[in-house]
Amino acid sequence: MTQPRFDELIHPSTRLSLVALLAAADWAEFAFIREQLDLSDSALSKQLSTLEEAGYVEIERPVRDRRRRVRARLTPTGRAAFAGHVAALRQIVAAADSEQALV
């Protein structure tokens, strides 16, 4: 069972979408993430750098079709942080719902 743990680093909306996308994938290419989340190159690079510095994301540069691609994957630490954050969010919602049920 995942321990709820609110993560300030993941919580901002853009970063949360990015981490949720990566959590559903083994890896995703930079261009794919940029298109799906409708971000600019620089905005996405900045978000990925922040997550990489925290040890949540790994950046790989494999070569495919003679072109170097950039792809990102969540590290085990990043996956654990994301799962804990989602559990914390659900806990907050569940607590509010049960309080409302008592009223």
Binding site: F6, L16, L21, A24, D26, W27, L89
Partner: protein
């Protein structure tokens, strides 16, 4: 207990998580070439069978099976429609591969049954006719099957949330 965000903010964040996941769920699919290749192979096998050379039919069937069993394991899990993202196995489970391969087996029975029925009716080239019919089902129904898988995965994620 003091929460870092309000319940409404937490709900909005969970919606954001859901949207982030759906970008990847939408990628669960098989490459289009798989369906077209399967359909063309099916028709070719039907035409060869109608030539009434048992050794040729047996060789073609073996070749069809060998090519399919080489190609299918790489694509039928629905996780690698494109080279841009790899969908996590936990999301698709084994159900996608089972559905696709089960569908192929079921269509094999449809082909045999349809061919026997047409043959009994005195039709010319009964296997070819049935194979073309099945090929149309493959090309039109295959993507629909994967669309149903995506809906199921999205439902499971919602239920999990």
């Amino acid at each position: 207990m003091e929460h870092p965000v309000t319940p409404n903010e937490a709900r909005a964040a969970l919606d954001t998580v859901d949207r982030g996941r759906r970008h990847v769920i939408d990628e669960i699919d098989l490459p289009r070439w798989y369906w077209f290749g399967l359909a063309l192979g099916w028709i070719a096998l039907g035409v060869i069978t109608d030539l009434h050379h048992p050794w040729l039919t047996a060789a073609a069937t073996l070749m069809f099976g060998a090519v399919h069993s080489t190609v299918a394991p790489r694509v039928v899990d629905g996780r690698h429609r494109s080279h841009r993202v790899s969908v996590r196995r936990e999301l698709t489970g084994r159900q996608t591969a089972r559905l696709v391969l089960g569908g192929v087996v079921a269509l094999g029975f449809v082909t045999v049954g349809g061919s026997l029925a047409l043959n009994a009716d005195g039709a010319n080239h009964p296997v070819t006719v049935t194979s073309v019919f099945v090929a149309v089902i493959i090309v039109l129904g295959g993507p629909q099957l994967l669309a149903a898988v995506r809906r199921r995965v999205a439902r499971d994620v919602d239920a999990d949330a």
